[in-house]
Symmetry: C2
Subunit: 446 residues, 2 copies
C-alpha cells in the first residue's frame, strides 16, 4: 500500500502545487505532540469537498492510505502516516461558512481553528464551549475527530454534545450529509455521533454544523489553596453537592504546585473554579462557593477579567514547569467518577513512592478528568511499569484510560484493557463497513 | 420465523409463569400509541440480565424474533410484534440500582418509569431533564431506545446527552458493558450512542448509567398571548437572541388554542416559557423576558408553583381537546431550524386551506420541534397527501421528519426521503453487524 506513480500523477493534475512531495515540505506533516515521526509519502492541501472526494476515489482505485490531519496537536500519533500514504491536511479549508444567531447554529470547514472560531462567535454574542487547552492551534475537524474536551466538560459537555450535522467523504469518494441542522433528530441510526471521536478512521469530515450558545455575560474565577490534596478534592465535592455547577473546576496536586513554584509551599492542593452566566447568577454562585470553601482554605481569591487571567496563568504554566522535575514524561488523560479522585490520588502517591518516580496529577477534576504525568530522566522501564499500574488502578475504580486524547497509535496496546473482545470485534466490523479496504488512517485505534 | 414448540418449552422452563402465552394475556402487549395492533406469539417478563441473555441465545438458536418493550407508549408501532415472535417486556426489571449524588450519576434497570425516577431524584436534590410528555408512563429503556426528548431540549438536550454507559445484550446472548461511568471517555468507537435511538433493533438494553444534575432550586413560568402566530414566534426568537435560555419554550397556534378554548378568541398564538436555576437567575431572566415580550402581548402572566401548573394545564389539555376538531388525526413531530418556524406555520396554513383540512401546530418551539396534527373525519386520502406535502416542506426548510418519535413501523416509507441511499446502506450493514440473522425487532426503521 503505497503511492503509485500513477496516483502521484493524478494527484498532481488535481492539486497542482497543493500537492507537496519534497521531503523538506512533507517533514512539517511528519509529527504531532506524541513525539513520534513518520514522513508521509506526500501531502495534499485540498480546497473543497470535491477535491477531497476525488482524492478518496483515487485512494480507493490505487489503494494508498489517506491520513486526515488538522493542526497535528494530537498526543497519540493519530494524524501520522504510520503506514505510509498521503496526508490530507485541512489548512486551506478553514472558512467559517455561517454563523446563525437565530438558530444558534454555525457551519464551518474542518480546518477552522477553535480559538479563531470562538473569537468570531464572541463578537456576535455567541459561545462555543469545547476548549481543549490546544484551542489556539487545534482545528474543529481535529476536535470532532477526537471528541475533544477541556475544562468545561462538567457544565457544558464535550465536542460530541455540539455536533449537529456533518458532511463526510467515505473511502471511495462518496460525499454524505449526516445528521440535521436541528437540536433534535431521530431518523435512523446516529452516524453523526459515530464519526465523532473516530479519529479519522471511518470517513473524512469536510463540513461541520455546530450548536452554539448565547455568550454568558458574566464570568468570575475563584482560586482556593489547601493544606492537602484531600482537602482540595473534598471541598470540590462539597461545592458540587451544594448544587453549584461551575463552568470549569481545575485541580492541581502538590507535585504540580511545586513545579510551578507559584504559591507558598504550605499550599499542597489548589482548586480553580470558574463560574459563568448572568451577573446575578455569577454573584450568587461565587458567594455560595466562598461560604463552602472558607472553612478549609489557606488561600482564597476571587477575580474576574484580567485579574482572573493571571490566576489561570498558573494553570497554563504547568506543562513547561514540569520539565524541571524530569526531562521526559509519560502523560495520560484518565477519567474517574469524581467520588474516586481522592482514593486515586492517594494510591498514586503510594505507587510513586514504590517506584521512586514523581507523578504530577492535575486537570479537569470537575468532570473527573485528570492529567497524570510520570516524570523521569533515564528510568524508562520503571516509568512504563508504573504507567501500567496506574491504568489498572483507573480501570479498577470504574474509570476510563482516556477522556480526551483517544487511542491513536500510542495507546493501542491498552485498548483491550478497557474494551471487551466482543465490543472490539463490533468496532472492527463497523470499520470494515465504512472502509472495506482499510485505507483510511490505517493502524490507528486497533 | 416463529416460536417453535421447542422454544416455547425452553422459555417455560426458564420463566415459569413469567412467560405469557394465553391470547388474553398477550393482548395487552399487542398495541402502542400508533393505533396498530399485532398479537405477539408470547410475552416474556424477565427479571434480570441473565434471563434476557438466555432468551436472546434461544432466539438465535431457534430463530424467532425478539421485540423489546417498555411501556408501549411509542407512536410508531416500534414495540409491536409486526412479524410475530416474542415480546420481551421490562415491567419487572424496574429497579433504581444506584443514585450517586457525588458523581452525579444514576444506574437504573430499563423498566424504571421516567416519572418515578424523577421523583426519587428530586428527593435527593437531583434532576434528570429529559421529560417526554409521556413521562408518567414511559420507561427509561424506551426513552433510551427512542432518544426521547421533551420541552427541555433547548436548554438541557435530549436523552442521548444523559446516557453515559449501557449494559446491552446482543443477539446470540452475549452481555456487553458499553461506555463509561464518567462524563468524558473516548476509547474506541461510540457504541453507547449508536444504541441510543436504535429502537431496539441492534441490542437489548438491560442497564443504563445516566448523568444527572443538581435540581435547580427555583422555577417560574411566563405565559404570553399574542394577536397572531407570527408575533408569538418572532417574540420567541427575540427572547432567545436576548441571551436567555429558558428550560422550556412551548408554542400553541390558533387552531390549537381554538380547540382548548382556554383563552379569549383574540389570542391567536401562545408562548409558555419556563425558566429555572438559582433564585436570582430566575428573577433576572423573567424580568428580561417580560421586558422583551411586553410590547407585543395581549396577555402576559408570570407564575410559579401551583399557579404555574394551571398554566401548563392548557398545554396538557391539547391532545384530548383536538378531538373536537376531528375524530381522526395524523400526527408528526417534525423539527425545523428555529428561524424557519414562522415560514413553516404560514405555509402550513396555506396548505391547510388548499386541502380543506385543519392542521394544529404546537410543541417545543424553543428547539424547533413542532407537533403537526392533521385533523379529519373521513378524508383519509386527502390527509395523507397533505402529510406528504408537509413533510416535503419540512425537508426543503432543512428540517427533519422526526425529532423524538422515530421511525418504527409507521414512518418507514419516509425514511428515504430524508436519508440518502448510501447512508441507509451503511445503517443496514451496521444492523447486520449486530444482528446477522435479523431477529431483533424485525421490520422496524428500514
Ligand atoms: C498542549 C496541548 C494541550 C491539549 N489539551 C487538550 C485538551 O484539553 N483537551 C483535549 O481534548 N485535547 C487536548 N489536546 C489534544 C489535541 O489538541 C486534540 O486532540 C485536538 O482535538 C486535535 O486537533 P488537531 O486539529 O490538532 O487534529 P490532529 O492532531 O491533526 O488530528 C487528530 C485526529 O483527528 C483526525 N482528523 C483531523 N481532521 C480530520 C478531518 N477533517 N476528518 C477526519 N479526521 C480528521 C486525524 O486523522 C487524527 O486522527 C492537547 C494537545 C496539546 C499539544
Ligand atoms: C401522550 C404521549 C406523549 C408523548 N410525548 C413524547 C414527547 O414529548 N417526547 C418524546 O420523545 N416522545 C413522546 N412520546 C413517545 C413515547 O412516549 C416515547 O417514545 C417513549 O420514549 C417510549 O417509551 P416506552 O417505555 O413506552 O417504550 P416503548 O413504546 O415500549 O418502546 C419504544 C421503543 O423502544 C424499544 N425498547 C424499549 N425498551 C427497550 C430495551 N430495554 N432495550 C432495547 N429496546 C427497547 C422498543 O423496542 C421500541 O422500539 C409520547 C407518547 C405519548 C403516547
Amino acid at each position: 500500500m503505497s503511492l503509485s506513480e500513477k496516483a502521484r500523477k493524478e494527484l498532481r493534475r488535481l492539486l497542482g502545487d497543493r500537492l507537496l512531495e519534497a521531503e523538506s515540505d512533507c517533514l512539517v506533516y511528519a509529527y504531532d505532540a506524541s513525539g513520534r515521526t513518520y514522513l508521509p509519502e506526500a501531502v495534499a492541501l485540498p480546497q473543497n469537498t470535491e477535491e477531497v472526494s476525488r482524492i478518496l476515489a483515487l485512494s480507493y482505485e490505487e489503494e494508498f492510505p489517506v491520513i486526515p490531519r488538522g493542526a497535528g496537536t494530537a498526543t497519540t500519533g493519530a494524524p501520522l502516516a504510520a503506514r505510509g500514504g498521503l496526508v490530507v491536511a485541512f489548512t486551506l479549508m478553514d472558512r467559517i461558512l455561517e454563523i446563525n444567531a437565530e438558530d444558534l447554529v454555525a457551519v464551518v470547514e474542518p480546518g477552522v481553528v477553535n480559538g479563531r472560531f470562538k473569537e468570531k462567535l464572541a463578537r456576535r454574542g455567541l459561545f462555543y464551549p469545547p476548549d481543549p487547552a490546544s484551542y489556539r492551534f487545534s482545528t474543529i475537524g481535529g476536535n470532532v475527530a477526537t471528541c475533544a474536551g477541556g475544562p468545561r466538560g462538567l457544565k457544558y459537555g464535550v465536542t460530541r454534545d455540539y455536533v449537529l450535522a456533518l458532511e463526510a467523504v467515505l473511502p471511495g469518494g462518496e460525499v454524505l450529509p449526516l445528521g440535521t441542522r436541528t437540536l433534535k433528530g431521530v431518523v435512523g441510526y446516529d452516524l453523526t455521533r459515530l464519526l465523532v471521536g473516530s479519529e479519522g478512521t471511518l470517513a473524512v469530515i469536510t463540513k461541520i454544523t455546530l450548536k452554539v450558545l448565547p455568550l454568558p455575560p458574566a464570568r468570575a474565577t475563584v482560586a482556593a489553596g489547601f493544606g492537602s490534596e484531600e482537602e482540595a478534592l473534598a471541598s470540590l465535592n462539597e461545592v458540587l453537592s451544594g448544587g453549584l455547577l461551575p463552568a470549569a473546576a481545575e485541580f492541581m496536586d502538590e507535585v504540580t504546585l511545586t513545579a510551578t513554584g507559584a504559591l507558598e509551599p504550605e499550599i499542597k492542593g489548589l482548586l480553580l473554579l470558574e463560574f459563568d452566566g448572568l451577573d446575578s447568577t455569577v454573584k450568587e454562585e461565587v458567594e455560595k462557593a466562598l461560604e463552602i470553601l472558607d472553612s478549609r482554605t489557606r488561600f482564597l481569591k476571587v477575580a474576574s477579567g484580567e485579574t482572573a487571567e493571571t490566576l489561570w496563568e498558573v494553570r497554563r504554566a504547568i506543562s513547561p514547569a514540569l520539565k524541571k522535575l524530569g526531562t521526559r514524561r509519560i502523560a495520560d488523560d484518565i477519567v474517574l467518577p469524581r467520588s474516586k479522585l481522592s482514593v486515586f490520588v492517594r494510591e498514586v502517591r503510594a505507587l510513586s513512592k514504590d517506584f521512586g518516580l514523581r507523578v504530577a496529577c492535575f486537570g479537569h477534576a470537575g468532570d473527573g478528568n485528570l492529567h497524570v504525568n510520570i516524570l523521569f530522566d533515564e528510568e524508562k522501564e520503571g516509568a512504563e511499569s508504573l504507567r501500567e499500574r496506574i491504568l489498572s488502578l483507573v480501570l479498577s475504580l470504574s474509570g476510563t484510560i482516556s477522556g480526551e486524547h483517544g487511542i491513536g497509535l500510542t495507546k493501542r496496546a491498552y485498548l483491550p484493557w478497557e474494551i471487551p473482545p466482543r465490543a472490539l470485534s463490533l468496532m472492527r466490523e463497523i470499520k470494515k463497513v465504512f472502509d472495506p479496504k482499510g485505507l483510511l488512517n490505517p493502524g490507528k485505534i486497533f
